[in-house]
Amino acid sequence: MVSDAAGEPGSPLADRWLALDRGWQALALGLGVVAAHAGAQAVGFF
């Protein structure tokens, strides 16, 4: 699991990400992939 990370303090963004439950991480990544596709479609890639 990503949140089992090395334990060293990193950037606030990395810390916040690592503190998330894995289910929320997966949800965020999945929606991010969909948003990227929507953006690519908007600029005519798809």
Partner: protein, 331 residues
Amino acid sequence: MRPVAAARPYLPGLALLAAGALLSQVVAGAVDGLQPLVVAVAVGALVGNTVGTPDAAEPGVGVDKLFLETGIVLLGAAVVVEEFLAAGPTVLGLVVAAVAGGLLIAELIARGLFRLDGETPSLLAAGASICGVSAVVAIGRVLEARGSAITFAAATVLLFDAVTLVAFPIAGEWLGLTGRQFGVWAGVSMFSTGPVAAAGFAHSPEAGQWATVTKLARNSLLGGVAVAYSLAYAARSATDPGVRRLWAEFPKFLLGFLAVAAIANSGLLSPAALESIGRVSDALFTLAFVGLGLSIRIREMREVGGAAVGAVLVHLLVVSALALAAVRWLL
């Protein structure tokens, strides 16, 4: 640069997963009919049971579960509500009865007859009753099952996929079923989507279309079954089964699956974009399956192998016999 530094411990393991996934694609591409996911598990298992996972790669290899859950979120893009409705009330009724009855029968057979315990009966029930390996993986993540248990259940399902792919078209011919009857029968009885469609089209084009639509309708029940299993296991293990605890144990990625399914059915994304999302999901599954393979311990599989295969075989015979009677009577 600090996020890059935070990611550094994961790089060796991610490189190992990526190398295994690439090798799986190359091997599966070179051999007709070989599924990349099967090769990915085999590659992982080979490495895991020979040289083992290097210590430096452990953090990165552990990301496999995140890949699995993200892949499941993206599976939502393949849910087509219109196809579910187009299958018609009779077929929908058969699908719901087959999934609900199949889950119950599989749990009873595995726990009562074959004395399997833990999450394995639920993983086998999900794989046999909903959509094969995808269901095993989704329910496995929901129940926080061990990687080796998930991989073992997936391997059992894949074994039956291979056998039923050959046996069902022969049986359909022998039984003299119409294309529609055979397609729906295969759609509610067989396990994974690919073999169901292949068996259907091996019988006839009409059977192939009915098999595919029926199977997709069955697959669309995955979210509901995952939520039901999540609540059942949380209630069983809870000392204080309040709403807060149920929410704490609820797999949040299922909300993502439902959200992506809603987006996919809203018409917002083009077919090409949805296809691309499906490819991302496939790639994440391949990476994750290399990780799952790395967690396989052959000795553990030998200990439960016979009982699991027996349980799934009895389940398949019971469900396919009941489904055969139903399609002959109703269609």
